[in-house]
């Protein structure tokens, strides 16, 4: 069993190798990352990516390639048509090479849609390419030196970014600026206008995105009604639940949020009657919605300022089990739609700690147990439905959010880690092992997932942006083949 912390540690530095190619040179020889960062579990295909670098008129005038090497990435840049000399070069947060707003002037600038520098360490500081990600932007790359012929070439390896995990740069942008980078001044080292931009796109990998219509959707839950051919997804910010036609991609409002008991919608499930169950988060409720979207029942948990009804799982016994991420209790809704506390966790090995505790929950198909992941500790727990005995199945699943059980395969969505982890469980659901970890074509704080036949669909919630920053639109669900 392997553990991915994903968090970059200060201190040790990883050397990058700089290759001098033609008239271009890379300045600086050392780049930092975190040398203690473990090698991620393998993705379903080798992690490689390409960015076609365009000028502001949209013409492709270069290419950058990215190849995963251990915890870091080998980057090769080849671009033409630039002024001789040094040019700031950074990974920017969003996968958009469109005009966008520069906050300092509140005006639209070329490639402003790419946003600011990618900052996985939340340093809020521009620094040199050797800085640890907590000290400076993860996206602060070495300057590109352009020769007299206007061509810039560079090859280097950096552990500041990756193609997977918290520092993953898939579906972000590589931007080359007009001026040198002073590796110091915020926000971009006085490197001036953005002259080239390319979206870092994974090679040989295809997904289907379902864009959502609103600028503040923050989709948290996703559930599929195969008979109707729709996926439901609910907004953590507003509680609105959309129905997404899986064939056409058309989105309609299934149930407007903000009403009784649904200021927020988190975990979603569809039951055999086509009813949609929604965990109400801080509303402290479980809503059961008819197939036309009207609430059949809005079930209240005990009133509390710390209600955090996060996810729910229908079990073969006909009950629905509900996690609360801040109150140590598992609730149960019986088929007559009565909610009660089913298991007080204070007498079990599950210890609630600060932060988000039990989150995703599934029932095993044999009806023997529940499996639930504790987000802050990364532990997966097995809760026996008959005896209520609780035992730890495995650890290492930090930031584990939504779960999907597919036979003995458990898919764990790991929100801040920005990957989906595939776990193989043993026959009695008491032990498990990580076998793969997928960033797809870049994930933005993914939250939950659901199955559609041989495919899976994941909600890219961006819930980290509820606390600040600007979400990347469109918000989307992403469909991909099981791995």
């Amino acid at each position: 069993m392997r553990l991915t912390s994903g968090r970059l540690n200060a201190g040790q530095r990883t050397l990058i190798t700089a290759a001098l190619l033609g008239g271009a040179a890379l300045t600086g020889t050392g780049l930092a990352g975190g040398a203690t960062q473990p090698v991620p579990a393998p993705a379903s295909t080798p992690l490689k990516a390409t960015a076609a670098l365009r000028d502001t008129a949209g013409q492709v005038l270069g290419t950058a390639t990215f190849e995963q090497q251990g915890p870091g990435v080998r980057v090769t840049v080849n671009v033409t048509g630039l002024k001789p000399g040094q040019h700031g070069m950074h990974v920017h947060e969003y996968g958009r090479c469109t005009p966008g707003v520069d906050a300092a002037t509140n005006t639209v600038v070329a490639f402003g849609g790419a946003g600011g520098h990618f900052d996985p360490g939340m340093s809020r500081n521009h620094d040199d390419p050797q800085a640890d990600n907590h000290a400076g932007h993860g996206g602060d790359l070495p300057m590109l030196t352009v020769g007299a012929d206007g061509t810039g070439r560079a090859t280097f390896t950096t552990a500041k970014v990756s193609l997977t995990g918290m520092t993953g740069v898939l579906n972000r942008s590589l931007v080359i600026h007009a001026q040198p980078d002073d590796y110091r001044s915020d926000p971009a080292g006085l490197s001036g206008a953005r002259e080239r931009c390319g979206i870092i796109t994974r090679d040989s990998f295809s997904v289907r995105d379902y864009p959502l219509p609103g600028p503040q959707d923050f989709p948290e839950g996703v559930a599929v009604d195969a008979a109707r051919g729709v996926a439901y997804t609910g907004s953590a910010a507003s509680g609105t639940i959309y129905a997404v036609n899986l064939s056409s991609g058309a989105v309609s409002t299934f149930a407007e949020g903000g009403g009784q008991g649904r200021a927020s919608a988190l975990g979603l499930k569809v039951d055999a009657q086509g009813r949609v169950w929604a965990a109400g988060g801080a509303s402290g409720t479980v809503s059961v919605l008819r197939p036309d979207g009207f609430p059949v029942a809005i079930l209240n948990t005990p009133k509390s300022p710390n209600a955090y009804v996060n996810d729910l799982a229908p079990a073969p016994d006909g009950n629905v089990y509900v996690t609360d991420s801040s109150r140590p209790v598992i609730f149960r809704v019986t088929p007559d739609l009565k909610l009660s506390a089913w298991l007080d966790l204070s007498g079990t090995p599950i210890r609630y700690a600060p932060g988000i505790n039990l989150n995703g929950i599934v029932a095993t198909p044999d009806g023997r147990a529940l499996l639930a992941v504790q987000l802050n500790t990364g532990d997966l727990w097995r809760i026996d439905l008959r005896t209520k005995a609780v035992r730890r199945v495995m650890g290492g699943l930090t930031r584990g959010d939504g779960l999907l059980l597919d036979g003995r395969t458990l898919y764990v969505v790991r929100n801040a880690e920005q990957v989906i982890t595939k776990v193989t469980l043993n026959a009695d659901w008491t032990a498990g092992q990580v076998v793969a970890e997928e960033p797809l074509n870049g994930l933005r704080f993914p939250t939950t997932l659901a199955a559609i036949g041989g495919d899976l669909i994941v909600a890219q919630g961006q819930l980290d942006k509820l606390q600040g920053g600007t979400p990347e639109t469109p918000f989307k669900l992403t469909r991909f083949k099981k791995f």
């Binding site: 707003v101 289907r208 503040q216 507003s238 064939s247 991609g249 639109t473 469909r479």
Partner: protein
């Protein structure tokens, strides 16, 4: 560039669907700026005058119609509901009660013995409707239900649904049972022109027949007190009151087609998705521009003079009036206080065309407000409006407590 391999075998779907959506507005890192705008706004609250019979001559009715006073001294006479036997329920918001009026001697007057209080202690009781022998009344944050006795009396109110938003600036709640068997109730905004703290404010709510669950049916409705389903098309129309203090003509009063899951634009947009220049753009969720926000909202189908303040709406399904009135709507416009030349203080008619679509709004009963020298005066704030059992039209004045009756006498 490498060739993409479609691992999912979704090539056909990709081409069919992914482009079907329009891109949403892009949230900005900082709220957009807007140029400054200056406006002139006027508070002009016409001097109120108690109703006296000699003022009736000031009221104008269309040719062939006659206006009569059915009752006076009713207090804060707000909403009306007419029973099939001619009994009339009247809500009084200021008094928090419901009265039962019945012209038992058929003299066209509600005498002292023909009126009685049948429910009380309901704070801000306003909208009322009847279904299956029960009276439903909505007040500040509560909907009550009462059993209707044979003599028109009401049982002690029970709470049917509760926990609705604070009333704030707009405590005139209303409700109606819809053709789908659900109760629709509108809850106006607590404030004038800013996003509301409670997401159930400035909405139309749809409530289950047992009162236990509800949903936000539509939002962005500042104060849609008058609403109802057209008798032939079944379309739900509502009359919304636009913001105050934005000048004499902005925003106009709206008639909206109210559909499930839609946003009608208040406070940022009015009329046909027009941008209200006097609302701070920085309050828009997601730091998008006003134009982007308004593009995602629903426009009105008809507009009327700003600040006229629709307070009730009823469709005319009687047979007394000429045929062209059939299935048109009457709206009580209670009257402005925020316009140089007062608007409203009238009963207006919404004329529907041959396809049952609203075509225009025209005055029906006017004259309650007038200029006396330099001073504007008024002697009636019209409120409730309902069709009486004989096909005449009833309406109230909540200032002096008057119940008026409009009869068609043309052709005689």
């Amino acid at each position: 560039m490498k060739t993409l391999t479609h691992l999912l075998g979704l090539a056909a779907l990709l081409s069919a669907g992914a482009l079907a959506q329009t891109a949403p507005p892009t949230p900005r890192p900082i709220a957009p700026g807007e140029p400054p705008v200056t406006l002139t706004a006027t508070r002009n609250e016409p001097t109120p005058l108690e109703f006296t019979a000699d003022k009736l001559a000031r009221l104008k009715v269309p040719a062939g119609f006659t206006l009569k006073v059915m009752a006076t001294g009713l207090g804060n006479a707000r909403m009306l509901h007419v029973m099939p036997d001619g009994g009339i329920y009247l809500s009084r918001r200021a008094q928090g009660d419901v009265w039962y009026l019945k012209d038992t001697d058929r003299d066209g007057q509600i005498g002292a013995a023909e009126r009685r209080q049948v429910a009380q202690n309901m704070k801000l009781a306003h909208g009322l409707d009847v279904r299956d022998g029960k009276m439903y009344v909505v007040g500040e944050k509560t909907i009550w239900v009462m059993d209707i006795a044979r003599d028109g009396g009401l049982s002690v109110p029970r709470v049917f649904a509760d926990g609705f938003p604070d009333a704030g600036q707009h405590p005139a709640r209303s409700l109606k049972w819809g053709p789908d068997g659900y109760l629709y109730a509108s809850f106006g905004s607590t404030n004038n022109d800013a996003p509301t703290p409670n997401p159930e404010e400035a909405t139309m709510l749809r409530i289950s027949p047992d009162g236990k669950t509800r949903e936000v049916f539509a939002r962005g409705l500042r104060h849609t007190i008058g609403f109802g389903w057209h008798p032939l098309s079944g379309v739900l129309y509502g009359a919304d009151q636009g913001s105050d203090w934005h000048g004499d003509n902005i925003p106009p009063e709206e008639i909206n087609v109210i559909q499930r899951g839609k946003n009608y634009g208040w406070p940022f947009c009015y009329g046909d998705k027009q941008l209200d220049p006097y609302v701070n753009v920085g309050n828009i969720p997601g730091k998008i521009t006003k134009a982007e926000y308004c593009a995602g909202t629903q426009g009105s189908v008809l507009n009327y003079t700003a600040h006229a303040a629709a307070i009730a709406m009823t469709y005319y399904t009687g047979t007394q009036f000429p045929a062209e009135y059939r299935n048109d709507a009457f709206i009580a416009y209670r009257g402005s206080w925020n316009r140089t030349e007062p608007s409203g203080y009238e009963i207006a008619r919404v004329v529907f065309d041959a396809q049952n679509r609203p075509e225009r709004i025209e005055p029906f009963i006017t004259g309650f407000v007038y200029q006396d020298g330099d001073i504007w005066k008024q002697f009636g704030r019209v409120a409730g409006v309902a069709t009486y059992t004989d096909g005449s039209l009833l309406f109230t004045d909540d200032q002096s407590g008057v119940l008026y009756r409009v009869l068609y006498t043309g052709g005689n």
